[in-house]
Amino acid sequence: MTIDWSWIGDHTDDLTTLTFSHLQAALSAVFFGLLISLPLAVVAHRVRPLRGFLLGLSNVLFTIPSIAIFVLLLPVSGLTRTTTVIGLTIYSLVVLLRNTVEGLDSVPAKTKEAAKAMGTRPLRTLLTVELPLALPVIMAGVRIATVMSISLVSVATYIGDGGLGQLFTDGFQRNFPTPVIAGVVLTLLLALVADALLVAIQYVLTPWTRRRA
């Protein structure tokens, strides 16, 4: 298997466009996934009876095959980026919801108690005490969801999207390995860079976790 470097040289623009398209699909999914997970996690954390139901639901959604999700969404959003993002968002929930609930669970009762006793109202306690303290666990979920979404975007090639995934079908159909290899390498790089960025973001957002006595 040899790489045709001239093909890569001729297609740098396409590769760049596909890479950004790929990244945009993955990040949108994580963004919307977080947007949905946060309120649901707060509900699951506070209302015990709903917790099992919500976590179970996110598990069940995760087991639906991706093709089935896209087919089900076609009448709603057609062969568009929206369909891709909705599908990936549904998958991201399984990690994001669970980690956000666990993050909220990890906040020491003593700390919440102190916040209440100081006269902090519940919403402010959630925003300024519980969520910041849950951040390390939530961010662990965000990292998994991001890497997972980046690897999953290619699946949307079925519906004419799929970012770098399009390189796989292209190479496969023409029995020409170069685009496939380029696609794999770029997907890997995207995942590594995104993960490193998230680690850096977490480092900046949680100064109290890094200064040891």
Binding site: T111, E113, A114, A117, M118, G119, P132, L133, W208, R212
Partner: protein, 358 residues
Amino acid sequence: MTICRPGKGHLMIQFDTVHKRFPNGTTAVHDLSLEMPEGGVTVLVGSSGCGKTTTLRMINRMVDPTSGTIRVGGKDVLQQDAADLRRSIGYVIQQSGLFPHRTVLDNIATVPLLLGWGRKKARARAAELLETVGLAADAGKRYPHQLSGGQQQRVGVARALAADPPVLLMDEPFGAVDPVVRTQLQDELLRLQKELSKTIVFVTHDIDEAVRLGDQIAIFRTGGHLVQCATPAELLAHPADDFVADFLGAERGLKLLSLKSLADLPQGPAPEGGAWTLVLDEARKPLHWASKSSTGTELPVRPLKDTDSLLAALNESIASPTGLVARVDAAGVLTGVSSRDDIHEYAGRAHTEASVAA
């Protein structure tokens, strides 16, 4: 029903037949009537499950009573917004309950920020309080986990004092630190209290801590019954029943002596030419006891000030090789010595007087 009525001063906190039953059916506090004077330290003491913590927590509405009324500064707590009420009352808990994600300065500034002081003013106040509780200024930038247990507890006290509340609730605040640090923190609290005159409600299961800190002590028994509420001296001299007497322990006579200073204890000149000589430095501060015998043995001396307790004098008279206790003034200069017999005689008299007076 025991009613505790301190004689003088305004009442800051009043419990009027307060009853608390939890949903699971246990009665935590049983028809409690208790009054706490302004500027005084009331210690709630008892074994675990006696309702002392629940009593404390009803004051700032962390727990609401099933029936009865609690007034703080004359106002029924149930008529006030819970969060507003809590901001007006300082609260210190065991293991400090500090916010791990906030710097020490921001931890202390919590209530001022909630009251809308603005970040700058709140931080300035927090920095001022660091000094008040005996912490270095650079501790303000650190995170709680970078401090020792004792330092964290000081931050907890500073945080409770930040908005200068008239009332301070302290729930076993020194329970998780070692005995040496605990004594330091108790001393600091007494020093602060002299300056600030807060109305303090202090929960502990340690009777020695209660005797040390309390202006009045309320003893609770399992089931949320207040058994006796009195000044430490009265309690030690006249326990209401066997339960209280047991709780105070077999050494309650000695504890009573711990409340009395040795200022009026007679003293005479240091002996000269005896078996033991008290050696002084140039400033006439005691250094050690020196034996006259050929071995030339030196034994340490622990001089006592007039502010020390009779219990300390009694202890020293037993520990001292000569049976003599060296007495010094505030600067540590020798003023005289007291003999074992004098101390014993005086302590006995003081004990009798305390029992009669209380």
